[in-house]
């Protein structure tokens, strides 16, 4: 039987965090009263003319750099089509001379997805459908709000390098992190500041030519993206296997019934009649623009993961992925806690422990973690490494540090977490041995699994105050050989 592989390319539209719109001085804001941020330009009134927003260009170049693109001399084109959310019935966009080309994006698992282009264009207004079922073709009429018309967008087009729904999701996740890290976007899919369309096709494994692709729209969440890709791949595979042709078309994802539907309109495909925008001048990414674009931008998520991983270099247990990072590294960078970890390590904390505590405990209180003082964090970790605090105790102190701040030693003291007297827990160890002779025999016979049980008994009796490592050592030293 022929095996088919999934081929996905993603188009992500990203609204830029500028103060004003792309071609006019109206406010670029989400959620304002309808039609309050409009002017002759973004409303497309007769006689109006566009003037390009410098900040939008800087952010677009910044995105291109973050995606390893090459900045190019670019021009704007008009994309002509009629639709009520388009004030001019053409969209000012970029066509065959876009501002950023030929980049790539690295996913946490180390795989790379090519970026064909990241170009600039203006957003459209928003339509609300009234009457009927709320879906377009059932609606009685529609209402249009042009607040969003003219908002600056960067459209990021990937190469068809994605091979699964999961990878598609990982791509959007990573891209979103990058866009937020650049300061160019707030990445709010639920508000529509980040929108994804998927181009999906299938082909026999090993084939070099691409199959017919379908564009899938209306993906409003990461979950929709994954489900839609899976659905579309299954649909296309079934068609191909039964010898049927796949129509190249746009399909609409229906979250309700979990499937895609054809949007074939009554006419042929759109002819956009692209031509260079005569009202705008060409855009050259000169030194000034590039410098302004780079200003104040920190390292991207991939680089931050690499930096964090290098702290753990040589720790073979953690080198489980291709780029040497782990789930914990991904989580820590995602939460923006990587600087905390690195600072703590620089202050003498154990890297592995710092990473674990940040990824697990600090992650439970991300806001509190952000305000954690690295010196205090380091001091606490050192206490735990030295055996002065058990893991459980350390976590408790950490929780309080995050919510209220303070000094770890003083907090430990107040909570009564002084070092437990060795004679006290030695006595507990003996008590547990006496109370559990069967388990003790098994442990002495070499059953390491029962060691956890025995250790747990001591921890329970000591209310977590005993140091796990030292207790384990105590058991080990009593084991008859």
């Amino acid at each position: 039987m022929i095996e088919y592989e999934t081929v996905v390319g993603l188009e992500v539209h990203c609204e830029l965090l500028t103060v004003t719109k792309l071609f006019c001085g109206c406010r670029n804001a989400f959620g304002d009263e309808p039609n309050t941020n409009i002017c002759p330009v973004c409303l497309g009134l007769p006689g109006s003319l566009p003037v390009l927003n410098r900040r939008a260009v800087e952010l677009a170049l910044r995105i291109g750099t973050a995606l390893n693109c090459r900045p190019e001399r670019s021009i704007f084109h008009r994309k002509n089509y009629f639709y009520p959310d388009m004030p001019k019935d053409y969209q000012i966009s970029q066509y065959d001379e876009p501002i950023n080309v030929d980049g790539w994006l690295e996913l946490p698992d180390g795989s790379r997805v090519g970026i064909e282009r990241a170009h600039m264009e203006e957003d459209t207004g928003k339509t609300t459908h009234v009457g009927g079922g709320g879906r377009i073709h059932e609606a009685g009429y529609s209402l249009v709000d042009y607040n969003r018309a003219g908002v600056p967008l960067v459209e990021i087009v990937s190469r068809p390098d994605i091979r699964s729904a999961a990878q598609a999701r990982a791509y959007v996740d990573e891209l979103r992190s990058i866009l937020v890290a650049t300061g160019a976007s707030d990445g709010r899919m639920e508000e529509g500041s980040l929108r994804v369309d998927a181009n999906v096709s299938v082909r026999p494994v090993g084939a070099t030519e691409y199959g017919t692709r379908c564009e899938v729209k209306n993906l409003n969440s990461m979950r929709s993206l994954e489900r839609a890709v899976d659905y579309e791949v299954a649909r296309q595979t079934a068609l191909v296997e039964s010898g049927e042709r796949i129509a190249q078309e746009t399909r609409h994802w229906d979250e309700g019934d979990g499937s895609t539907h054809s949007l074939r309109s009554k006419e042929e495909a759109n002819d956009y009649r692209y031509f260079p925008e005569p009202d705008l001048t060409p855009l050259v990414p000169d030194a000034g623009l590039l410098a302004a674009a780079a200003e104040g931008v920190g390292p991207m998520p991939a680089e931050r993961r690499h930096r964090l991983s290098s702290l753990l270099a040589g720790d073979a247990e953690l080198a489980t992925r291709r780029d040497g990072s782990t789930d914990q590294v991904v989580t820590v960078v995602d939460l923006g806690l990587d600087d905390l970890v690195r600072d703590a390590v620089a202050a003498g904390a154990d890297p592995r422990l710092a990473l674990a505590r940040a990824a697990n405990e600090a992650a439970a209180n991300p806001e509190g973690a952000k305000s954690l003082d690295p010196a205090a964090f380091a001091a606490l970790l050192k206490m735990e490494s030295a055996g002065q605090l058990s893991a459980t105790q350390s976590k408790e102190v950490l929780a309080e540090l995050m919510s209220q701040g303070g000094d770890p030693a003083r907090i430990a003291g107040r909570l009564g977490y002084e070092q437990m007297d060795s004679s006290a827990f030695e006595a507990m160890v003996d008590e547990v041995i006496n109370a559990n002779p069967e388990e003790w025999q098994r442990f002495c016979g070499g059953d390491d699994k029962v060691a956890q049980f025995l250790l747990g008994q001591v921890m329970r009796a000591s209310k977590g105050r005993a140091n796990g490592k030292l207790v384990a050592a105590a058991f080990a030293s009593r084991r008859h050989v």
Partner: protein, 103 residues
């Protein structure tokens, strides 16, 4: 007029009228087909030009990088704008139902 490739047929007119959202009756379609064919004939010299190595001119003056600062300017008064709208409702522009999704 020679060559079918230069003639604009009524079907061409209907196609272009659809792209341009122009409602035409049959008489108009026929009439425009004749007139547009004549115009196409008149501009044919352009099509036949040998323009190898000639770059296109989009702007008479080669200016670049005209930009503006990201500074807010006053917006229009919504009441005035909606008063000009053919049909407005709930502070929005109302249109008859839309048949297809945006491209």
């Amino acid at each position: 007029m020679t060559g079918p490739e230069r003639l604009i047929t009524p079907e061409d007119v209907r196609h272009v009228a659809r792209l341009a959202r122009l409602a035409l009756d049959d008489d108009e379609v026929a009439r425009y087909a004749v007139q547009l064919s004549a115009i196409l004939e008149a501009v044919d010299a352009v099509r036949r030009l040998d323009t190898a190595d000639v770059p296109p001119t989009a702007h008479p003056f080669p200016v670049e990088n005209v930009l503006r600062p990201d500074t807010e300017m006053p917006s229009l008064d919504r009441e005035w704008v909606l008063a000009q709208a053919p049909v407005a409702e709930s502070n929005r522009f109302r249109v008859p139902r839309i048949m297809g999704e945006a491209p």
